[in-house]
Amino acid sequence: MSALYQQALLAHHQSPVGFNLDIKFDSAKSGHNPACGDEITVKVAVTDGVITDIAFEGDSCAICRASASIMCEQLKVTPFTQAKSIADKLIAGLESKENLSELLGDSYAPLNAVASFPIRAQCAQLPWQTFQLCFEELKP
């Protein structure tokens, strides 16, 4: 029905993982996409170099929200530095229009179509860029 808004993406939009800022955290950062007005806050808790909890909240479009949901789903219980490298890859992959499920695995498939819409790719990048800010603050 829609090239961009496929069922898998909409599922994340409608019941997002980690949409709850009420967690214990070590770093909280806000990100803003001036092009479309998306706003997001990301919080992470890290213990012994592993992400023990990650959450987000914000007023954002379905793409941003679904991407944030995938991020929370994928990065929880992941070593912090490995999470950072996933974020780097995803951001670069969207930039160069790569197939994200080939690059990072099937869980990222809902975002595959986004790369073909350059303006909206920014929306998908925003949660991950905000996560990078958390990494910069806490980096080992």
Binding site: S2, Y5, A35, C36, G37, E39, A62, F117
Partner: protein, 405 residues
């Protein structure tokens, strides 16, 4: 009620492709009718030269043509004379000329009054003056009607007010401001009044003398004329106080390496080669619009706007930010509850519907509305009930996609 456009066939874009086009973004740029494109084409083929410079017929004829168009534009807004009309590249450029050229703004003190509904083009230049001097920027809030709050305006204007700069028609709310009343108040305090007519010029009869404004600015591309032309009307008193901001060829009487004397009249505000192609397109666009107005365009568009508002209200789950007015003005901003404006615009694009989503270069106004962004639809001469029916189909898809049941 037959809401079928008698003008749509004048716009070749609708028959150019086998894909349909439901264009609801005329407030950004209106589409171009064939007569305007033809005028541009004929100009490039047969009349192109550098105006105001050459002694040969091609240039001299073009100079005459542009001066005739100056008179046509003066007539379009009922300016006292063609000597009050300055050509430039658009509303943004026109406001810039005033903000940077007006002597009184160089005094370094006093205040400037704008409204909370201004487009960034009529906000940032004033903000910058305030940042770089002791001049204070005062922002008048909006009343529930969406218009400038008049009692607040009365309180904020005083004898130290240098200029009041307000929009004639909000590009987000589609609400018309009571400019003539604002003009009266402004004059009582000896301040100038600049009116941003970018949106209004396409939708109503402009009479700068009745409005009592010192400056009136608008852009050709919202008047069916394509890109590249803009008009700054300045009253005689205003011109006397305005210094040229852009300096260069064609604006001087005499130049030596140490000293120059500006040309008299409006030409001193038009340094460099004029965009004759755009000015000729503007002329054709204004003639086209005038004809359409004579054929009932304003009434048609008001009816179509009301039809749209009724349909959107009946659809349900939509927050409409435009306020009911006696004469609806072709611009409606809204949000589908719980769906981001950009998602709505993307899905509508998949239905071949062109709308604008975001803050429409009016972020402060969106703060007032308490939303980050809105979907804006704006109507032009080619629109008809069919466009609105298709919009509702698109919105229904949005509802099914995004709103969990």
């Amino acid at each position: 009620m037959a809401l079928i456009s008698r003008w749509k066939a004048d716009f070749p874009v609708f028959t150019q492709s086998d894909q349909p086009l439901y264009y609801l973004d005329s407030a950004a740029s209106s589409l171009v009718p064939k007569v305007v494109a033809d005028a541009s084409y004929q100009y490039l083929l047969n009349e192109h030269a550098n105006s105001h410079r050459g002694f040969y017929p091609l240039s001299a004829q073009l100079t005459q043509r542009i001066e005739d168009i100056r008179a046509q534009v003066a007539n379009f807004i009922n300016a006292p004379s063609a000597d009050n009309i300055i050509f430039n590249s658009g509303t943004t450029a026109g406001i810039h000329l005033v903000a940077n050229g007006l002597n009184r703004l160089k005094s370094g003190s006093g205040n400037i009054v704008i409204s909370a509904a201004e487009h960034h083009a009529n906000l940032l230049p004033w903000q910058q003056i305030a940042e770089n001097s002791d001049i204070e920027l005062r922002v008048v809030p909006l009343a529930a009607s969406g218009q400038v709050d008049m009692p607040m305006l009365e309180r904020l204007i005083d004898d130290n007010t240098l200029i009041v700069a307000v929009t004639h028609l909000s590009n987000v709310l589609g609400v018309e401001n009571p400019i003539a009343s604002i003009g009266k108040l402004t004059r009582q305090h000896g301040a100038f009044l600049l009116v941003d007519g970018a949106q209004f010029a396409a939708h109503g009869k402009v009479n700068v003398q009745a409005l009592g404004c010192d400056f009136y600015v608008f852009s050709g591309h919202k008047l069916y004329s394509g890109h590249g032309s803009g008009v700054l009307f300045a009253s005689d008193v205003a011109i006397a106080e305005l210094a040229p901001v852009v300096l260069g060829g064609g604006m001087v009487n005499s130049v030596s390496v140490s000293d120059s004397a500006w040309a008299t009249g409006v030409r001193k505000f038009e340094a460099g080669t004029l965009n004759a192609q755009a000015i000729i397109a503007l002329s054709a666009g204004l003639s086209y619009l005038k004809q359409a107005e004579a054929e009932g365009a304003h009434t048609y568009l008001a009816e179509l706007t009301q039809f749209t508002l009724d349909k959107l209200s009946a659809f349900g789950g939509i927050n409409i930010y435009s306020v009911q007015q006696s004469k609806p003005q072709s611009i409606i901003s809204f949000n589908l509850e719980r769906v981001h404006s950009h998602d709505v615009a993307m899905v509508l694009a998949e239905h071949h519907i062109a709308v604008r989503a975001g803050h429409h270069c009016a972020q402060p106004l969106h703060h007032c509305l308490g939303v980050g962004s809105t979907v804006r639809i704006s109507l032009g001469l080619y629109n008809q009930a069919e466009d609105i029916e298709q919009l509702l189909v698109g919105l229904e898809t949005c509802r099914q996609l995004f709103i969990a049941r």
